[in-house]
Symmetry: D2
Subunit: 135 residues, 4 copies
């Protein structure tokens, strides 16, 4: 981490008031902290579009745990990509549904491909990928 820099920003009062109100609701205690976060989000947004960017991906899938074949298949998939899969966490949601959250790291294009593979597995009802990157 480099040294801390300090700079000034000008903004019309209405916009600043609206921002302060919104970040207060969100729980921010400090305006600089909130500005750093929206800036990081703006940067991550573009970074994760680059196929070679090094990212963290979280895949959330929902599936019916009665399909035993599915669990075997998901386990196989995760072993095939063991170098990219950091861990996975399982939640028993209700009598039928399980949620599994898989954390991946690697090049953005590969993370997307593995996520596609997990989500397209027969028996997975729904899945979504979200990506972040160190800033």
């Amino acid at each position: 981490m480099a040294d801390l820099e300090r700079f000034s920003v000008s903004m019309d009062g209405d916009l600043l008031a609206a921002f302060d109100q919104r970040i207060g609701q969100a729980g921010y205690q400090n305006r600089s902290e909130a500005i750093r976060d929206v800036i990081r989000d703006y940067l991550v947004e573009q970074q994760v579009q680059l196929p070679d960017a090094n990212v963290i991906g979280t895949v959330t899938i929902m599936y019916d745990h009665h399909s035993r074949l599915l669990e075997d298949r998901l386990t196989d998939l995760q072993h095939d990509h063991h170098d990219a899969i950091r861990c996975s966490t399982h939640v028993h949601l209700d009598h039928h549904n399980c949620v599994e959250v898989i954390v991946l790291s690697g090049a953005s294009a590969r993370v997307r491909e593995i996520a596609d593979n997990l989500i397209s597995t027969r028996g997975v009802k729904h899945g979504r990928l979200v990506m972040t990157a160190p800033q």
Copy 2:
């Protein structure tokens, strides 16, 4: 517009350098301008989720212009909601495809509903809604 306010922000140097590089690429000439924009985007993101928020919606639809019935139907729809529809612009894309861009204003929930109606019209191949709001 209220008076201009000026305040200072602290940030570690690496993050600031990454932001300056990205906004340079995007064409910003000024850091304050870029920060105001990311702040407005953060506010709009939440505002357009509120059903009663007053928003501007832009619906972009693609359709096959050979279906004459479709054009009539789209025109009818726009007349039914004339108070919410500000204007529409038509682009002849290629031999088959037309793009129509419709600008709507009103409560977020109503804008979504009209957009759903436009996009679901038989013959419309694809459509997307994007919303903004005055800040």
Copy 3:
């Protein structure tokens, strides 16, 4: 357009009922039409990520029309990229705010770049890009 094909899909009754209800609300008159639309949206989603894909982009920007320099700058920008810009439409929103909707066509990477340039123009308060592609 190729010949029409017909195929069958199996689905559990609850999911089908939920889909039928949702598409009824959205205004679809026909299940096949709705399925074609969600399929096109799924395809467009991936296509627009490819930098070379030929896309249509709609940029919606909001700005204060009192800044005369801005209008000149936006006009210049649009002339610089005249081969990619199909048209633009202007809406006088209220005493302060104008909305301009610019329709672009070309490679996805170039459309993003021009959109960045339009949105980063000093005086533009907020802007969003949405992309579609012929299917």
Copy 4:
């Protein structure tokens, strides 16, 4: 789960070929499976907008593990909302950065609020929420 239903869909051949190619790449073995998935995604998209909808949220946050106060604060937050937080998983990313993935369940509005609180915690560098819902 209700009984399985079977119905037919008509589609022009080009669109069907593009869909078959894309789902083959994604790893689907079966067209019905892929169609069920895009339909579920379309339904989830709308559901998670409703403040009272029962959803699963996955919050992925990145932070600097050197800030000991942060870990205490995150733990406190998770205890405050223990009824909504199903579990959390921690990944040591590199010398500086940690990723924590928190799985929440409950009403969509509450899940968003807790996610806002986690992401706005001082020291969290970036965070994203993704939601799904049983279908």
